[in-house]
Symmetry: C2
Amino acid sequence: MSSRSQAIADMLTRAILDHRLVPGCKLGERELSEIFDVSRIVIRQSLIRLADDGLAQIERNRGAFVARPSMQDAMEIYDALTLVEQGVAAQLSDRLGPAGWAELRQHVERQRQAVASGNDALADVLGQEFHTVFVRLSRNKVMQEIHAQLVRRTTLLRSLITADFDYCNLLDDHARVIELLEKGRLKQAMELIDAHHRSVVRGYIMDRQVFPELTPREALEPYLDTKAGEAPQPAPRKKTGDNGKARAHAHDHAAK
Amino acid sequence: MSSRSQAIADMLTRAILDHRLVPGCKLGERELSEIFDVSRIVIRQSLIRLADDGLAQIERNRGAFVARPSMQDAMEIYDALTLVEQGVAAQLSDRLGPAGWAELRQHVERQRQAVASGNDALADVLGQEFHTVFVRLSRNKVMQEIHAQLVRRTTLLRSLITADFDYCNLLDDHARVIELLEKGRLKQAMELIDAHHRSVVRGYIMDRQVFPELTPREALEPYLDTKAGEAPQPAPRKKTGDNGKARAHAHDHAAK
DNA sequence: AACCACAGGATTGGATATCAATCAATAAGA
DNA sequence: TCTTATTGATTGATATCCAATCCTGTGGTT
């Protein structure tokens, strides 16, 4: 393992991506240092990493907060994601070998089975992972890291937005992109990728306020003992009472 | 100004991009803390920022060093850069208004004048800036940041590589890309962007070893007093004696 | 002479205590 | 009620200290 601050940054990242820490949530140094039982300095370093990743924002003399991207940010992030995935698609349509196409098809198939067997959580994860697998096949680590960062930020976005669309379309989109690319219909594939992301963004409605349901201590508790990789609760799923709509996010209610 | 560690990270970044701090150079915490007259902890935070940006690498219990990208890294970085700029080109060909095209043409014109008047240093800066202006016109801050990071890493690469190519081609390429895009010949423009970067990479030869010519203290001295923005010496330009070849980098000897 | 082991120094990673600056919220006063 | 002052809390940063680790150089052994 590298440094303590990296490990803590990873835990915070997971908590944010799991929507246990919602945008705007204060990340107090003292509080976190007590939770993780480290000094404030380590926490500060972790927060710097998070801020560099776009998941937190640090305000001078005010502290760190889980980032609260604007609607403008959201569009820019999805634009960038589209750009990257279209570019990767163009590369893959030239360079990808049979094994690569097989891997992609296999991934979609696994997701389809998950949907069929009603394992929505798994289907959700696989659906997001598809994009990652897709980019990994470009064999470009730099690109992978850029893409992963964008994906993290879209995941963060889902804490802020309400989505209401047909999840099955996304799965079909994945399959169709593979099909189109393999047939060399690059232009159509790229348009589908664009439409794919646009359909997501279009379904999004920015909710002005987000009420933190969990304190940082509650949110982070599941990650503390795990040596990283054990699989803590993937989602909070607590009822808010007055604002349940804000809690629903994109891929959760799979296969409506 | 934000935090002290950010300011110091910026200075280190500039020193690295100016090739005053060369790849592999040790960035000792004690040494830097004395140079900047801050505590080691601030330096640590700065180094974390640099590492997150890909400009430094931190080895546990060994310390931080200016990153020494491999040839593989170099290719991946240029691949990613090509992908991003091609994507932006596709966006601009649709969306850019007359004012945007004018700005691009004006930029190229300024560079042409700099070349004509023999101001190689300015021409060099403008030549690199073109890509940044190009991406800025996409009006996507996320994309801009991604692109800027990639550009920083290519600049770092130039500390490691030997390039020998006709600089004028690059200037012409910029003009031609604008021309092609404006005429709606997107495909050709994208191919030119690809060729543009490929011509750079192809001219690169990785030099195994780089001998640090400047100690961190010497390298950073020009940045210390400036309140950021004054313009310290842009390049070291010290003779190495036995390895002068390794010092020449891409855009330096403009308009050969 | 070559090689291994071990001890010491140097450096990093981190903890703790402390201080100044700043922000926020309350309390006092007009 | 509105404005201002004080107070408390939090961050930014420093100094000092300690443990773990890496590097090196020495010395003994073969």
